[in-house]
């Protein structure tokens, strides 16, 4: 009798061993970094994906491959465009490869079997995890809406569900996350908190360059125009996001906003010359040494204002030197001067690099 009992027990143990999730098996979801752009590539082998009956947002017929790729990329990239992670602009690139129904899993791609039912699932540990970056996983995706597709691809980027079902099957949100895409697909949104969670996963799996963030507070003063000594008391705050490559190249963005609402010049003869407030989106270039940043601003089109912009963004203006005061801090005051005379502003920098000190 004991032997009769032992055999099923041994078989059951063998079944448990066989059913243990796959061990690490090569590159899967990957991350590449170029300047301040971080690109996530999600390769998916798609057995049983049919090409019929898919339509794009304009109702035109579209292949199943493009439907799934576009749905996820559009959803996520539209959000990433407005929601950076610290210094970094994130980009999603989904690569779906239709495969025959009996196609078996391989290294290097996730394996998602398609079907005609509802819903979708991805096999991964619960919660946010780097698992999909470390080994290929598998899933089953049915008839999903674009938001549903984006939700499932969110899992392949490592994000966990932000909801659960109670024993009676009723839906409940995880903490205060019930409004977002990982809780409610089409009714949810991708907000900054979701992007930050994703960014924290990216920081774990990729060698992200240094990110320095902070402000430059400027006062534009003592300008000369039309042979008159004039001054502008405009105050401007510039938000800086600077990426420093391993060899010290600096690239990034800066957004300047006037705190005073105008950049009028008030001249000694009593004349007031009206100018709009300084508003600018600028590219930043330069280099960083152990002791200093040297950065220049390159304004994009559509900038407004006068004193601040001439003093800081004219190509003749020398690079702004910003002393590095600690491994994770840089700051100081610098007077930026237009070499032709007259225009200058006093700039006070305050930059930090939260990830520069372990």
């Amino acid at each position: 009798v004991k032997d009769v009992i032992r055999i099923p027990v041994v078989l059951a143990l063998l079944a448990v061993l066989v059913a243990v999730p796959a061990q690490p098996a090569g590159a899967t979801t990957t991350v590449s970094v170029e300047g301040n752009v971080v690109t996530i590539v999600v390769p998916i082998d798609a057995p049983n994906l049919k090409n019929s009956s898919y339509r794009d947002a304009n109702g035109r017929p579209i292949s199943g491959k493009r439907y799934w790729e576009q749905s996820a990329e559009t959803f996520w990239n539209n959000a990433f465009e407005f929601l950076p992670y610290t210094c970094f602009e994130v980009r999603l690139d989904v690569r779906v490869k239709p495969r025959p129904p009996d196609f078996e899993p391989t290294d290097g791609s996730h394996w998602v079997i398609f079907h005609d039912g509802k819903g979708g699932e991805v096999r991964k540990p619960p919660g946010d995890t780097t698992y999909p970056y470390e080994q290929s996983t598998d899933g089953a995706w049915g008839d999903l809406s674009p938001g549903g597709i984006a939700h499932e691809v969110g899992h392949l980027m490592g994000l966990g569900d932000d909801y659960g079902y109670a024993d009676d099957g009723s839906w409940f949100p995880v903490a205060d996350r019930g409004h977002n895409l990982m809780a409610h697909a089409d009714l949810g949104v991708i907000d900054q908190a979701v992007v930050n969670r994703l960014g924290e996963l990216l920081a774990k799996v990729a060698d992200l360059p240094e990110c320095w963030i902070g402000t430059m507070r400027s006062t534009a003063v003592d300008v000369h125009i039309l042979n008159q000594a004039c001054r502008s008391d405009e105050k401007v705050v510039t938000e800086l996001k600077l990426v420093v490559s391993p060899d010290g190249d600096v690239s990034g963005t800066a957004e300047a906003h006037s705190l005073t609402g105008h950049s009028d010049l008030i001249c000694n003869n009593g004349q007031r010359v009206p100018y709009p407030p300084s508003e600018a989106i600028m590219d930043v270039e330069g280099e960083k040494t152990a002791s200093r940043f040297h950065i220049v601003f390159r304004p994009q089109e559509g900038t407004l204002g006068i004193g601040y912009l001439i003093a800081n963004t004219d190509p003749k203006v020398a690079p702004q030197p910003v002393p590095v005061t600690a491994p994770d801090r840089a700051g100081g005051t610098y007077t930026s001067r237009f070499p032709g005379g007259g225009w200058f502003s006093v700039n006070r920098f305050d930059l930090t690099c939260p990830d520069c000190v372990p």
Partner: protein, 189 residues
């Protein structure tokens, strides 16, 4: 091929071929869903039979597995009859999944529950990613009929619910003349 995953696939295939798919092991986890769907592709006949047998399960999760498997594999009169029976279930997920499966197979008896669901913002239990009843109904009606009544432009629950009267009126008038076009997978009148 990943050796460990291949081993799992081979073991699953062996079990399937030997004794059919066993839905009793379905526990509602993502792993269970993936294994279930894989089985529906590899051996739909075995899964369908297991699903029909599993509809009598008292455990709600096991029963949901059976309902889900049936909606993916339904074929033949016995399956259709079982789906029609599920339209009378007191569980939202069973009614709606059955209605959707019927409509996608050209059986118009699935249409009324979908129209009724247009006014429900209840989340369908156990489905991932979560979706409200009106979302499933909206997708199914637009996919499998030639009508619209403003539904394709309606994105908020109140706007979707506002189309319900027009859909009900349409179905009352068109029910007798609806026929299924297999080429477009839509009901035409």
């Amino acid at each position: 091929m990943r050796a460990d995953r291949a081993l799992v696939v081979a073991a699953a295939s062996l079990i399937l071929s030997a004794c059919g798919y066993d839905l009793e092991s379905f526990g509602g986890s993502p792993e269970d869903f993936v294994d279930l769907v894989q089985a529906t592709v590899e051996d739909p006949d075995a899964v369908r039979q297991s699903a029909l047998d599993g509809l009598s399960a008292s455990d709600p999760t096991a029963r949901f597995g059976a309902v889900y498997a049936l909606t993916v594999t339904a074929e033949g009169q016995e399956s259709i009859d079982a789906l029609v029976s599920l339209l009378g279930s007191d569980r939202l997920e069973e009614r709606l999944l059955a209605a959707d499966a019927l409509v996608s197979r050209g059986d118009r008896r699935g249409i009324p529950p979908l129209i009724e669901a247009l006014a429900s913002d209840e989340v369908i239990p156990r489905l991932d990613p979560p979706q409200a009843a009106w979302q499933l109904a909206r997708t199914a009606l637009l996919q499998h009929t030639e009508e619209d009544f403003g539904l394709s432009d309606a994105e908020k629950p109140s706007a979707v619910a506002a189309t319900q009267d027009a859909w009900e009126e349409w179905y009352r008038e068109a029910e007798g003349s609806l026929r299924w076009d297999p080429a477009t997978r839509r009901f035409v009148s």
